[in-house]
């Protein structure tokens, strides 16, 4: 299968196989007009198989979302057909409006205008807690 190189844009590489669509949806890529390729189960020497997303536009993407879903992803910035920057993503310390607190006693459950903010409380186990009520984030 051949997918053309992109000239100016972003390639999200080393996405854990099967998580590509989740990343696509969380980043809101369906709302973009440019060409986007979502490649599932591409062969990978390092990972066996992986997902890749190629975005043919120079856009800002929310790396916090990527870091939360799959911190092993690499973000490649392409300019004039060349890979000018390769970013590795770390687990974000803070997530804003990525997760929703499911604790019915939390103030964010009542006050709809409040941003949903989670902070990283345990890096080793990738545990996030609600800033307001400290309830653990659940998928």
């Amino acid at each position: 299968m051949t997918v053309n190189e992109i000239k100016n844009g972003i390639v999200l590489d080393h996405i854990t196989a099967g998580k590509g669509m989740e990343i696509y949806n969380l980043l809101g890529l369906d709302k973009l007009d440019c060409q986007i390729a979502l490649i599932k189960n591409a062969l990978s020497r390092k990972m066996g198989k992986k997902d890749i997303i190629k975005i043919d536009a120079d856009i800002d993407i929310n790396t916090d979302i990527i870091g939360y879903v799959d911190p092993d992803i690499t973000v490649n910035v392409i300019k004039d057909g060349k890979n000018v920057e390769k970013k590795t993503i770390d687990l974000p310390e803070r997530l804003e409006n990525v997760l929703v607190c499911k604790n019915p006693r939390c103030i964010s459950a009542t006050e709809q205008e409040l941003p949903h903010i989670f902070t990283l409380s345990d890096r080793e186990n990738r545990v996030y807690r609600c800033l307001y009520c400290e309830a653990q984030a659940k998928d």
Binding site: R105, C106, I107, S108, E111, E113, Y132
Partner: protein, 303 residues
């Protein structure tokens, strides 16, 4: 400008400083009688709490300040749908400091993020109640003269009991503290709190039998099984009488045991124990007022 939302945000040195101020207030109340003259405390109580509200009000009056506020959500603009953020911004125009109780967890934090004056969390649902913990700490300090090398029994509702969680947070910073967790299986300390104790190698034991561990305890912190934390009344009725402290159960206790309770009690401590010199829960109420005075002075930066 600082607020107090969570006891964990106070350093050990700051707690020591608050205790020193409270001790000085107890010894020299007249020195503090006009410290807050011209200052106003707004007590925003979206949930009824006679004890905590009166304690804050008494604290401010004893500092020579004034108090305004409301004692239930129905008499506030929240009943009209006003957000916590807007209430905090509005009250910042009228008062110098806010004490807020709210049934929703995190509401005082939201207030502190929007107010231009200090906010004190006076209890947010089952989450935090830092000034109760300050009262507990002053009581322990005045009774024992120290915070280290104590065996602390926590008994009753350890699942929803916010005072228990906050007290554990505060005491785990001292050396030689051992927690004895006494509760029915349904109301055990949440796993994440236990996991954090284990991670730090903190000693604790978990039991359902109060009498078995009684001889070991230096502090016995009793709690009420709170009806308002249950969605299911049957479960509340089944668990509410799990532990009732009676004079008979105290026969094996140390002679210098200190019995604490955040109050109000329902029936978990027999009134027959009130005259026992080991009962400290009414002193704890008084100490709570002094710690709130010390806290108000600190947050208002009154010398």
């Amino acid at each position: 400008m600082r607020s107090l939302i969570d006891i964990a945000t106070l350093t050990v040195a700051e707690i020591d400083e608050l205790i020193a101020t409270a001790d000085d207030i107890i010894a020299n109340p007249e020195k503090y009688a006009h410290k807050c003259a011209g200052k106003k405390l707004a007590t925003l109580f979206f949930e009824p709490s006679t004890r905590t509200r009166l304690s804050f009000e008494a604290a401010m009056y004893e500092l020579g300040g004034n108090v305004l506020g409301f004692s239930e959500a129905n008499s506030s603009s929240a009943a009209k749908g006003e957000s916590v953020a807007d209430t905090a911004k509005t009250v910042s125009c009228y008062a110098d400091i806010i004490a807020m109780r709210h049934p929703k967890e995190g509401a005082p934090l939201v207030a502190s993020m929007n107010a231009s004056i200090p906010v004190i969390n006076a209890g947010d649902g089952g989450h935090n109640h830092p000034t109760q913990t300050l009262a507990d700490l002053l009581t322990i300090h005045r009774e024992k003269g120290r915070f280290d090398n104590l065996t602390v029994g926590l008994c009753g509702d350890l699942k929803f009991g916010r005072t228990v969680h906050s007290l554990i947070t505060a005491l785990r910073r001292y050396k030689g503290i051992k927690f004895v967790l006494i509760s029915p299986n349904e109301l055990k300390l949440p796993d994440y709190v236990k996991a954090s104790l284990e991670k730090e190698g903190f000693p604790y034991i978990e039991t359902t039998d109060l009498e078995e561990v009684m001889p070991e305890l230096d502090i016995l912190y009793m709690t009420r099984v709170q009806q308002e934390r249950f969605f299911n009344e049957e479960e509340y009725l089944r668990l509410k009488d799990s532990y009732i402290l009676t004079p008979e159960k105290l026969t094996t206790a140390k002679s210098d045991l200190s019995i604490l309770h955040p109050l109000p009690r329902v029936n978990e401590i027999s009134v027959a124990i009130d005259k026992d010199p080991r009962a400290c829960y009414f002193k704890q109420v008084l100490y709570g007022k002094f710690m709130r005075m010390a806290l108000i002075l600190k947050l208002l930066e009154v010398e």
